[in-house]
Structure formats: structure tokens, C-alpha cells
Symmetry: C3
Subunit: 472 residues, 3 copies
């Protein structure tokens, strides 16, 4: 385990060549303490609203983290043994210490993965645990973390402040009443937590409970979701409501990036089918496609920035879906086309300078072939940071190497942590800052960029471009 | 801006690790002064024929460069404000100094892009401007460049000689009378400028004015383009005419790499449809596909080297197409298949040792998966250098890393600048030489290659293989 | 040629940055002498069974190596002139010395390729030839190698022992009587040579002689391959027979990764069609797809580890196929989907912890997008090492960089040499060990991994994981 005083090396992730590392250090030092701007993520607003202590080490760090349980599952650990709730209510592991030990026993599986670096960062900086986690110190770690979590300094709002978060966005369904955001608004707490509009449950005909969701959307808004016009009006209504809780963006998690621009009669007829359901796979796809164009149209009116997160084959493992439900680590990327898929939306709104559409991908082949060329031309397009599996050192490097030469830095929007794992937020931003500093340092060392410019870009990527792109 | 005496660092682009850099320097030094062989590009032959002074800094360096105006457009600058002509003749910016200032204001957008390195090289080596371009020195730069352009030493032929160009190819349509090339031939000037045969306007049924073009082709050649045999004869006729102006290659810019090998009755019937038009998308694709095989057949007779540049979705932005026309920075790459697409042509001619087909791609995934394995087997195939968006430091690195292990160096053909931007030619060749020197230096530093071999390869890639592959 | 005492530099392939190289050396030193475990390959069991001397340098090192003859063919050398047998029995080069000289004349073509490093390793370590091969020393090399091959120390079993091979798997068709394996079993020789079950000839309706093969399978096993149940029984029978000769794995070389899970009536009807033939391309694909699922089902019973090697377009060059037959260097990779393709099999067996399915690819885009996410979730899946064209320094680097962050090291299975070229086995394993040491050294130098962990991983990748995954 070694006698290191810190689990974290100050130069971690920076380039190994000494002169390049020196440049990278200078760049990193100039951005490491900038406030965290987190424009897209999935933390639970009740944490900030209620400010209750986190329950225990396992339910804070293990049980909700799909990166963790997918890896353990891949190596034969049962999800039940990690405390993942079954839909049928069957018995699962309920002792958090046992879950923690199981995790520690398998911590070696994360060697070389981002999860390892995020966890080490959390253990070291948040809990002052300076050894490598493993079976022999699992209990000691558990006790130390549990002891911390009982203290006021480890409650959500205190951590929010300690993490130096300037603003964070959560993500909610149009059907969410935003009670927690209301509570926050009323609370007088200075922390800035905004929502974001994620309408998949009422836009995607394949979404669980879609028809009930449409009905509920009508009820909430008082709009007649039995008609296309009423349905659009309901969206406008909820977008406006979300804006009143600070929302500056919408977010769309479709299976593909398909967009459409149907005539009014076509879409009216399609909506009628979709509303009554069931529809074919092609009809569902066409409806989602049309809705991206509708959302862009609304964005031009209300100013919400649009995010498109396409290309995940959700719930690939039907056994896991049946037993445990959605979002259980069984989502798998697939090949994603943007060039033909986005054309209908871009034909309609691509040249609008007052629209911002931020594109994400799980198909890295699109960086240099499609996304950078598109974003390097269309005024409305910007490139989101590497997403999900690619929120990693190598993933970020590939994005920079493959996208920047064509898109430039200024058609990108800095970093998103996109996480459900609250304690990992500083770790994730720190990794992004280190990778950016390293990438820029290589350009400086190669004399492709001057160091003063690199400092400006580092600041832009960490802070200014994020706020500008997301209007935060 | 710094007090640097040169805007260009002598070690730019070379590896930062000192021992590897030393090897790279030796390799680069041995090739940096070799003559430029430019076997494929789009410079305007009238420049060399007429040898008139270039008009002003903006119309030389900004207005014709789609890399530049696409980036500025992506960030909200109107093309009209950059002096790009509208099809409807509406007013546009006509003051070159204002265009130059707009460009200088946005020069920071090019950080990390090839455009930045090409421009810096031009400013430094051609105009002795040794500061970084920006708003504060835009006017001074403008004045200096304008002053230079008025001098005889900055006329096209003088620059051609100064650039140490041994031979350059332009690219013309079969409908081009090659008057400028005729003028050049008659002029007695020693500069070697050859043409290349790019028949897309009379091969692609989707090309603007295709039917009129067919008619014109018949007129020019005296062949009856109303029949398939006459149409082929017209091609043979023009290819021969192009050869008399030094052409050693043809070039084909199709949406895909599809080839076909139809029976005579099938192709006769298809040509009849195509000639009368309109045809379906599939029929247009099939006709282009068949024509690649026909061109290969003619190459076996007349020796022209065939270049295939597939995979660009041309004029993706219909608003820009409508207002400004073709080639306005709105071409976007798309996924391109070679393995199935080329099979009909390869089944027919793939084993011919007297045929050379040079393949290019805008889909980098094909380097290791399709292109290198194909070129590493078929005697007729060679790989062209990284093209367009990938004519860049990172793009070239990826090509070398992904293609060479399977194709070897000797199934590649060195560098193409492929440019319309005359002053950038030395910069582009210099970048390619630096990247090649760096790639080879890494292999030497890793002891995967001996240094004497690396010197030989560097010379081959810069000079010998280009001349050999293109028969120049 | 230089006066180097060894053709091989002790630090070849290791990182050039001195501190990282020092780490890499320590890692490499700790694994370089571990025994070779070769769980998948295509060496000829008759070599070990009969232990005859290899005939001559050309037939040992040139004629059987498709990496070599494809490159020479791509540069205009005729296969006949390399001694490759024609199907029509026409005359070919029969003088091995002339073949060797032709190879030496073209040795420069392999600069930068894996073939070069494998050959240099063989020449240096096996034959003590410490100069670079070329035209001037071709005869001397030939004589030295020929002299060696005449000695007992160069017979197959002696080399097997010298190479420190702990176990090697060959690959045989179900129709193979395994006589050589029987001879080996009876011989008392201590070398461990096992077979592997490759049923393509009786599973792929497009395979040459498929119907005769089905008939022969019935004869060999006494099962009625005229029925679906009898056909499955015949597989079970042969798998069991292969297990009695040490087989621990099956191997499946399909054009795609398609799997299917048909009902009994569907598959019975399909088998009936396939058995009587001919079938459509789609029916052949569906049958192969169903058979992968059947093989997985059998693996659950008999414990054979399943390998899937999809995505090669076999015999792309029909002229070569007609003249010389299969496996003549004309196989080309193509885009390969796994996410949708594997779903039927995974829906049925993906969650089985007692099943191991090892996935390979010739489409590197699948590493980060599909394979690592799948293997990082499904308990039955593991990732095979970079295959064929990607069994190379850059290919292995890309695999590590693109797969490990999501799959971790422990969902991979170490190295396969997958070779027909017996003398190259130590070279191939040495390259893999050097690349792994280098990749791990970079992580240590970056402080992403501790050095003690890197040592453990290096050992796991070289030895422990291979034996575990393949149950050897």
C-alpha cells in the first residue's frame, strides 16, 4: 500500500515529458481553483432542498453509481449483493458495510478506469483517506466515511459550498412539479441550483408510460394534449415554468439524432397516431425526430439552449431491465449518424445565430468526420464535451485531437460532469482541467500555440465558454 | 505579442521529447529544401498564365479560403461581410481592408487549427510579419502585404519560383478549353504547370447543368454524346487533349466510392436514361459507379493515374447553396465504404500492375479497416495523403499510425496540398514534412526503424514516391 | 548496414521519454521470461507430431506467411514467383533460394510494419543473424538458416521447448480426425499441444463443400445430420471428441457477429432448407447466427470457451481465389456491428456466469463504442486482443487506449498470437509484452496507476488472465 502521504500525486494525468509537464503545471495552476460551473447533470435536487445527511458510505458512493455496479456485474457480482433494488421487492443486501466490503474486494477491477481516479480523489480530498482502498482497509475506510457523513460539514449544502460550485443544473421531466426547486427558491440559501427541461417521457412514444404521461402533461398545464396544438402549447407552458426555476436549457436523449420537418398535416396525423398508440418503430422515430425540430423552434422563442444526447441503446439487457428497471448499467452506445440525421432541423434553423444546439455523441468516429465539420460551419451548433464512457482521460484526449483542428476551441462548450454522483463532481472537473492543461501544453511545447494564448483558452474552456454557451 | 524575432519556431510540430526531437530535426533538415511536387490541387491556371499582381490582402488570403470563412460563419459572421459574392448580386462588403480587419478580429478562432499554422507561415516567410495577427496590428499587416503585392517579386510566377515548385497540377473540367494552359505552353516560361482531368460535370447526373454539359462535350469533341459509344469516345478524346497539356492523372469527386461493372446492354440502357434525365438517386449513383470502372479501363490504355475522392456530402446547407452557390464551406464528410463499393472495379482491374488508382477518404475509420488492407493487397491501389479536414498535424499522425503498419510506406504516395490558396503551398508542404519527420523520428527513437532507413523514407515521401505514383 | 552487434535494440518499442522508459523496462523485465501461453493459433499439429526438420528458409518463413506475400503482391510481385501453389497445377517458382532473394529484395517494403519486427526478431534470436536483411546479404542469410534447419535443435519440438511454450492450441475442423493430436498423445513428448473446435465448414452454408461436409459429419459421428436434432448431436459428439484432445475452446469465423434465437419450428425449417440448399444470403446469415447461440448453449454444458472472430470479407479478390484458393492475403475487414448483432445470444445467455464468450474485431471503431461497454457489463463477455492487421504496436496501443477505461483490464484475456508462422511466436509475444509494459508505464508515469499494481497487471495480461479465460 506504500507510505504515501497523499493518495493523489500533484502531477497526476499531466504529461510525463519534463518540459511539457512544466507548461501543463502552469496552465493547470491558473485554472484549478476556478469555480465549478456544472451546466448539465443528474444530481437529486432534494439533496440541496432538504439538506439531510447522506445515509452511509455504500448508499453515497456505491449503490447509485452505474459505472461501479456495471463493472462488478461484468465480473460476476450479483446486483442484489450490491443493494440494488429489485422491482419485485425480493430480498437484497441491506447491510451497507457488506456492500462496501464487496466493493473494496473488487476495487482492483477499476485500475486504469475513470472511476478509480474519481473515487481516489473523493477518498483523499473529502475524507482524508490516503491509502489505496482494498480488502484490508475496507472497514477502516467505511468507519471514517460514516463518521464524516454524520457531521454538518458533509451535508449537501456544505459540500456544495466546499466544492466551490457557482451553479449546477439538475435535469427534470416536464411532469416533475419541481417541488424541490421551489423549496430551494424559498429557502434563502445562496447556492444556485437550476433545473433543465428533459421532455423524453412525453416526447418518446417508446418511453414507459408514454400515454399516461401525455394525459398527465395535459392535466398539469391545462392544455389539451389531445390535439397537436394543445400538446405544443403544453410544452411551451412547461418550458416557461422550468425557466422560472432557472432553466436555461433543454435536453433530449433520443436513440438517434434523427430530425424531421414535416408539414402541419403530416405531423397532425402522426401526433394523432402517436397519441392513440401503439405505433411502429419508424413512426416513433419520426415523431421524436419532428419533436427535435419543434424544440428548436421553441428555443428560438424562449431562448433555452438545446442539448442532444443521442445514440444510446437503452436497457440492452432485458433480464436486468425486467428485474431492476432502467438505468442499470446496461445502456450500450451504437453507431450514430449526424450528417443526414440533423439535416431537416438544420435546413430549417441551422443558420440562426440566436439558437444554440449542443451536440453530444457516444460514437467517437463522428468527432472528426461529422461533428467538427458541422460545428465548424453552422452558426447554431456547438460541440458538447466527451460524454459518459468517454468522460475519461483518453476519451477527452481523443475529442481534443479529433475535433479541435476542424471545429476550433470556440465551437466547444467546456466541460459537463453529467453525473448522479455528487461527491465525484470536483474529481471530474479536476480531471477535465488536467487533460485540457495537458493538451494545451503539448501544443505549446510543439510551438503550435503561444503560452499566453493557452492560458486564455484554459480559462475559456473551464469557465467562460461554459457560462456563455449555457447562458448561465 | 512578445518580442520574438520570428513568428515561427524552428522546431514547431517536432516532438517535444529532446532525443526524439533531435532525430526529427535531422530528418527534417534533410528534406526541408527539396523541391515542391504538387500533383493535385486547385490553383487557378490564369495566375501562372497571366502573371498579374494579386489584388489585395483580403482577396488573396481571406475571400477564397473556405477553411477561413466557414469558421467565421460558424461564429456568426455573415459571408456577405467577408466579401463572398451572392448569386443574386445583392450588395456585399467591397472594402478589402474591412474584410481583413474582420478576419484579424477573429483570428483567435483558428487557435489549434491548420489554418493558423498556414497563415502564420505565410505572414512570416512571405511578408516578414513576425507578430501574431490581431485587431491591434491588422492595419499594419494589411499595409505591409498590400505593399508587397505591388512588387514584381510577388507576382504568381515569381512566387512559383520562390516556392521552389518543380511541378504543380491544376484540375479542370473536360469542358474547359485549357486556354490558360495553352497560354502557358506558348509563353516560354520554365515553370511546369500541368492539368488534370476531372470529369464530374459530365459524369455525375446530379451535377448542375449535367445535360447541357453532355451536349457541350459532344460539341467540343465532335463525338456523338447521344450514344454510349460516342460518349466514351468523347472522354477518350478529351483525356488525350488533357495529356497534351501535361496531364498525368484524372480525378473523381463522387458522393461515394461505389463502382459497377455492368453489361454493355445494361450500361447502354442506363446511359440512355441518364442522357434524357431525370433519373432516380439510385440510377445516378449507378451511372457514376460504372463510370469509375470505365475511367479505369481508359487509364489502362492512356496511362492516366486515377484519383478517387469520395464521401463528401456537398452543399449540406441549402440556404448557403441558394444564396452563394457551391464550395462555400458547407461540405460535410460522411461514412464511406470501400470494401464492397470498390469490388466491381477491383474484380475487373484490381490485379493490373499497369494501373494506379489513388484512394482518398474523409472517413478516417477506413484507414485501418479498409484502405490499408486493400492497398496492402491489390497491385493497382495506392493511398492518397490525409485530405481536406485531415490535412493537419493530428490528421496526418492518425493516417501514419493507422495505415502504415498494414499498407507500408510504399503503398502511399506522399503529400498533396490540394489547395486553392496559392500562398499557403509552402506552408502546407512544410507541415507535411515536419509531421513525417516526427513520425519517423518516433519509430527511430523506439528502435522500430534505423535512422538511415528513416532518411530514405523521408526523401521518398517528400519527393520520389510522389513523382513515381503520379508519373511526374 | 551498420556494425551493430545485435539487430535488436534492448529497448525497442518502449517509450522514448527516459523516465517512462525506465518504468517500462522494469515492467518488461518482470514478464519477459514468463512461459508462452498460446490459447489460439493456426500452427500445424503435424509439425509437433512428426517432428521433421523444416524444409528450407523460404518454405519456413516466406511461402506460408500471408502478411508477407500480400505486401509483395501489392507491389507487383507475382504469387507464382513466391512459390504459392496454383489450383490448376501450373508451374511456379520451385527454387527456394530464388524465392528468398525476391523476398530480400523487397524487405524494405516492410519498414514500419509488424512483419519487419517479427522477422528481425526471428533472424536475430533464432539464427543469430545480426544484420538487416537485404539484397546484398540474402544468400548468406539463406545459407545460415538452411544450415540451422538441418540441425536437431531446429526441429519443431526442440523449438517448442526453446520458445518456452507452456501450452499451444491449434485449430481444427470438426471433420478433422485429429490424427496428429492422437500421435502426439501417444508419443510421450511432454509438450502440451491442444486442439480447438472450429466448426465453420459444417456451420456456414457458404463454405466450400458445405453439403458434403454435413454428410461427412454424419458419417464420422454416426449421427443423422439429416435432422436438426441429429445435427446438434453430431456437434456435441465432436466437441466431446475435441475435448479429449485437450480442447478448451471453440472458434467461429463468421462474416458478421449476427446471432439469432429462433423457435424450434423456425430453426427446424431453416435447417431443412440449409441442408438441402441452395439458400439465400439472408438464410445463410440467419443459420450462422442461430448456430452461435446453439454453440453458446453447448458451451454451458461442456464448458468450452467460445471465440467469435467476425467481420472479415474473405477472398475479396476473386482472381486470386480462382487461381490460388482461400487464405491468400485477400481477406479485407469490414464494418462490424455488435450491439444489435449479439443481442439475441445475450438475451438468452448473456447473464450466465459460467459461460465465456471472447469477442474479437477487425473494426477498431467498435472498441470504445460497442465492445468495451458490452464486456464491461455482461458477465459472459470478454475481449480478445487486437487481431490480425491490428496485432501490431500501434494496433495494441489503440486497443488499450480505447477499451480499458470502460472494460478495465480484467475483462480482457491477454494475448493471442493467432499465427500459422511458428518461428514468429516468440517475436509476437515479445511485442505484446513490450506494448503492455509501455502502456502500463505511461499510466504509472502519469500517476494514474501505482507501479506495484502495474507489475501485477503485466503478469496478469501475460500469463494469469490467459490461462484463466481459456481454462488452460
Amino acid at each position: 500500500m506504500g507510505a504515501a502521504k497523499s493518495l493523489l500525486h500533484p502531477d497526476r494525468i499531466l504529461p510525463s515529458e519534463p518540459q511539457t509537464r512544466a507548461i501543463a503545471r502552469r496552465l493547470y495552476d491558473s485554472i484549478k481553483d476556478l469555480p465549478i460551473v456544472s451546466p448539465h447533470g443528474h444530481t437529486d435536487p432534494s439533496w440541496y432542498a432538504e439538506n439531510k445527511p447522506f445515509a452511509d458510505p455504500a448508499s453515497l458512493l456505491v449503490v447509485p453509481d452505474h459505472y461501479i455496479f456495471r463493472m462488478l456485474y461484468s465480473q460476476g457480482v450479483k446486483l442484489e449483493d450490491l443493494g440494488i433494488k429489485r422491482r419485485d421487492g425480493a430480498a437484497i443486501e441491506s447491510d451497507p458495510r457488506k456492500i462496501w466490503r464487496r466493493f473494496a474486494d473488487h476495487y482492483y477491477l477499476f485500475r486504469g478506469t475513470p472511476t478509480r481516479s474519481w473515487l481516489d480523489h473523493t477518498l483523499s480530498t473529502l475524507f482524508d483517506l490516503q491509502e489505496r482502498l482494498g480488502p484490508s482497509n475496507a472497514d477502516a475506510f467505511y468507519d471514517r466515511i460514516a463518521e464524516c457523513l454524520a457531521q454538518p460539514a458533509y451535508r449537501p449544502r456544505a459540500l456544495f459550498e466546499r466544492f466551490n460550485i457557482e451553479v449546477i443544473a439538475t435535469t427534470e421531466s416536464p411532469l416533475d412539479p419541481l417541488h424541490h426547486h421551489q423549496t430551494l427558491k424559498n429557502s434563502g440559501w445562496a447556492g444556485r441550483v437550476v433545473t433543465a427541461y428533459r421532455p423524453d417521457p412525453v416526447v418518446d412514444p417508446d418511453f414507459d408510460g408514454f400515454h399516461a404521461n401525455l394525459h398527465k402533461l395535459g392535466e398539469i398545464t391545462g392544455c389539451d394534449t389531445g390535439t397537436w396544438q394543445g400538446y405544443l402549447e403544453a410544452h411551451r407552458n412547461r418550458r416557461s415554468y422550468f425557466k422560472s426555476f432557472g432553466a436555461t436549457s433543454s435536453d433530449h436523449g433520443h436513440p438517434s439524432a434523427a430530425t424531421a420537418d414535416l408539414s402541419l398535416s403530416e405531423i397532425t396525423a402522426l401526433y394523432d397516431k402517436v397519441r392513440k398508440g401503439p405505433v411502429s418503430a419508424a413512426e416513433a422515430e419520426l415523431f421524436r425526430a419532428q419533436m427535435l425540430t419543434e424544440m428548436a423552434r421553441m428555443s428560438l422563442d424562449d431562448g433555452l439552449v438545446m442539448q442532444i444526447h443521442p445514440g444510446s441503446v437503452r436497457n440492452h439487457n432485458h433480464v436486468i431491465m425486467d428485474k431492476f428497471g432502467r438505468d442499470m448499467g446496461a445502456d450500450i452506445p451504437s453507431a450514430t449518424n449526424y450528417v443526414q440525421a440533423l439535416k431537416p432541423l438544420l435546413d430549417r434553423f441551422g443558420n440562426e445565430r440566436d439558437l444554440t444546439v449542443i451536440l453530444f455523441t457516444l460514437d467517437e468516429t463522428s468527432y472528426s468526420r461529422e461533428l467538427a465539420p458541422l460545428a465548424g460551419h453552422y452558426p447554431c451548433l456547438r460541440l458538447g464535451p466527451p460524454w459518459w464512457f468517454f468522460d475519461s482521460v483518453e476519451g477527452m484526449k481523443r475529442f481534443r485531437e479529433q475535433a479541435i483542428e476542424t471545429a476550433g476551441f470556440y465551437n466547444t462548450v467546456g466541460f459537463n460532469d453529467d453525473t448522479r454522483a455528487f461527491p465525484s463532481i470536483p474529481a471530474r472537473h479536476d480531471v477535465a482541467r488536467r487533460v485540457d492543461a495537458s493538451f494545451l501544453a503539448e501544443l505549446v511545447a510543439d510551438h503550435r500555440l503561444d503560452e499566453d494564448e493557452a492560458h486564455e483558452i484554459a480559462n475559456d474552456l473551464t469557465y467562460r465558454l461554459v457560462k456563455q454557451a449555457y447562458k448561465l
